[in-house]
């Protein structure tokens, strides 16, 4: 069992703090989704944990090894940045070999895991965006790391490739601590167990996603007839939209419809429970350094 501990970490660029006094402890092997608006400091958080940025104050310990000063600690984690970070002039195989020669690892296993057999002799620069991302991800799986830091691993990928990558990550999460940042709220609720919310460089929430309850649920209902006379709903496209304050109320509403002889063909939540975090205006967001905002935007 591995433990990642952040103790009052303040970090940033050019002596300008982006992250402020971040503290948390990750003990359980699981996927921890890091969420936050652009410029909140998600990438800075990943870079600081990965030892790429040296914190201005505070400590980051992976099983009591300081990730900033200890190369050995950094070797125990794998970091996927938003950049592909592959030597573009090399073939996929040579690029991965370049990294395995430096950091060690099982080249064939990574190629098999990411299904790169067909692509391994192609130049990295000749690949499509999705193929590039897949090849770039393989370098993260060269070594059997204790901690994975994945900064928007499925950004700009088509849904099928995103799903493949999510499935691989889910499989690995059984025995690893995985920090995963995403802008996709549905992806976050789909893959994550825990939520780490970063707003304006500060940690504003750390909880199990299953514990997060929105103030209001919007549920879309497809029915065999107009239900607006039975329930207080609004018509939005194909759906009758019902606003309730708890999931239990949805059951009661459906029961009422059935009792009135209505055939309900579909019910689905229209909002994501995490959506509220993006709707809340971030006070002082304008103080976020532009450079960081640009980086996160990328």
């Amino acid at each position: 069992m591995h433990v990642l501990k952040l103790d009052n970490v303040t970090s940033g660029y050019n002596k300008q703090a982006v992250l402020h006094d971040i503290s948390f402890v990750l003990k359980e092997p699981s996927i921890y989704v890091v969420l936050g608006p652009n410029g909140a400091g998600k990438t800075t958080l990943f870079r600081t944990i990965a030892g790429i940025l040296e914190p201005y104050s505070g400590k980051i310990l992976l099983d009591d090894q300081d990730t900033t000063t200890s190369g050995e600690a950094r070797k125990r984690m794998s970091y996927l940045s938003q950049y592909n970070a592959m030597p573009e002039e090399m073939t996929v195989y040579d690029g991965l070999k370049f990294y395995s020669d430096i950091g060690g690892g099982d080249l064939d296993k990574a190629i098999e895991l990411l299904d790169l057999e067909q692509l391994k002799n192609k130049r990295f620069s000749d690949l499509s965006q999705g193929q590039k991302k897949r090849a770039a991800m393989a370098k993260v799986f060269l070594r059997d790391s204790d901690l994975l830091l994945l900064d928007e691993p499925t950004a700009n990928l088509d849904p099928s490739v995103s799903k493949e990558i999510r499935d691989i990550i889910l499989k690995l999460s059984k025995d690893k601590i995985i920090l995963y940042s995403s802008h996709n709220l549905y992806e976050a609720t789909d893959i994550g167990t825990y939520l780490i919310l970063i707003q304006n460089g500060s940690l504003t929430m750390f909880d199990k996603i299953s514990n997060i309850k929105p103030k209001q649920y919007r549920v879309g209902i497809k029915a065999s007839q107009d239900i607006s006379k039975i329930l207080d709903v609004q018509r939005e496209g194909d759906y009758f939209v019902l606003n309730v304050s708890s999931p239990e109320e949805v059951g009661l509403a459906i029961k009422k419809l059935v009792e009135n002889g209505v055939q309900v063909t579909e019910t689905r939540p229209l909002d994501n429970p995490l959506q509220g975090f993006f709707e809340t205006p971030v006070i002082g967001a304008e103080k976020t350094p532009k450079k960081e905002a640009k980086r996160d935007a990328k």
Binding site: L53, S81, E89
Partner: protein
């Protein structure tokens, strides 16, 4: 020689064949002036040697520049950031790119040295071996000090990575290297003694600056400078 240094040197040559080709061409002109022309214009030996020096030095420098270009390229692609996450620190990166640049410079110098020695031996100019070795020592010192200074300065000061005239393949630091060698192209027109003095003074000065940069490197080179 660490494997990673060799890999960086190979990657540099593969990525930028134009600069390495130019380096070889310039070195060839220098070798021609240094080794061949004196057989036809022996009276002008001193001038020819002085003319050969900047070509051979510039050849060494240009031949090593693909490493500087690779550094900028790797930085922009996120490769350097990833190398730090693999356990390297900024010092490791700095040293490996510097060694790769020096390795390339040394390879071309070895070619220049070998050709000169072969020509001296086979053309019966053994009497000039010591003379040639003295000048080649100066050329090696000059070339490698410029390579060290430019590579270190570029890594330490991000502003020197800015492309000149919008050409990504010519960062400001490379122009700086060219400027350091430039006076030696025309200084012999004034006086032989001054030319020799300048040929000696520039490498001493640049070498000293390189040592200063090397000492200050741990302060000047921060990890965040390696970020894209």
């Amino acid at each position: 020689m660490p494997n990673s240094t060799l890999i960086l040197a190979k990657r540099s040559l593969k990525l930028n064949k134009v600069n390495s080709g130019m380096g070889i061409l310039l070195a060839s002109i220098g070798i021609f002036a240094f080794d061949v022309l004196p057989f036809f214009y022996f009276d002008a030996l001193a001038v020819l040697v002085l003319l050969a020096v900047p070509f051979m030095v510039l050849g060494i420098f240009i031949f090593s520049t693909p490493v500087s270009l690779l550094y900028v390229y790797d930085k922009n692609n996120g490769v350097l950031e990833y190398l730090i996450s693999l356990g390297w620190n900024q010092g490791d990166i700095f040293k490996r790119y510097l060694k790769a640049a020096l390795l390339l410079g040394l390879i071309l110098f070895t070619v220049e040295l070998s050709i000169t020695m072969i020509v001296d031996i086979f053309a019966g100019a053994q009497a000039y071996i010591l003379h040639d070795l003295a000048w080649l020592t100066l050329i090696a010192g000059f070339g490698l000090s410029v390579v060290s200074f430019v590579t270190m300065a570029m890594i330490a000061f991000s502003s020197l990575q800015r492309p000149v005239g919008g050409n990504a393949n010519s960062p400001l630091a490379l122009s700086l290297g060219g400027l350091l060698i430039l006076p030696t192209f025309y200084i012999q027109a004034f006086s032989y003694d001054i030319a020799v003095l300048v040929d000696l003074a520039i490498p001493v000065l640049v070498g000293a600056l390189s040592i200063v940069l090397l000492i200050l490197s741990s302060r000047l080179i921060r990890r965040e400078k390696m970020l894209p």
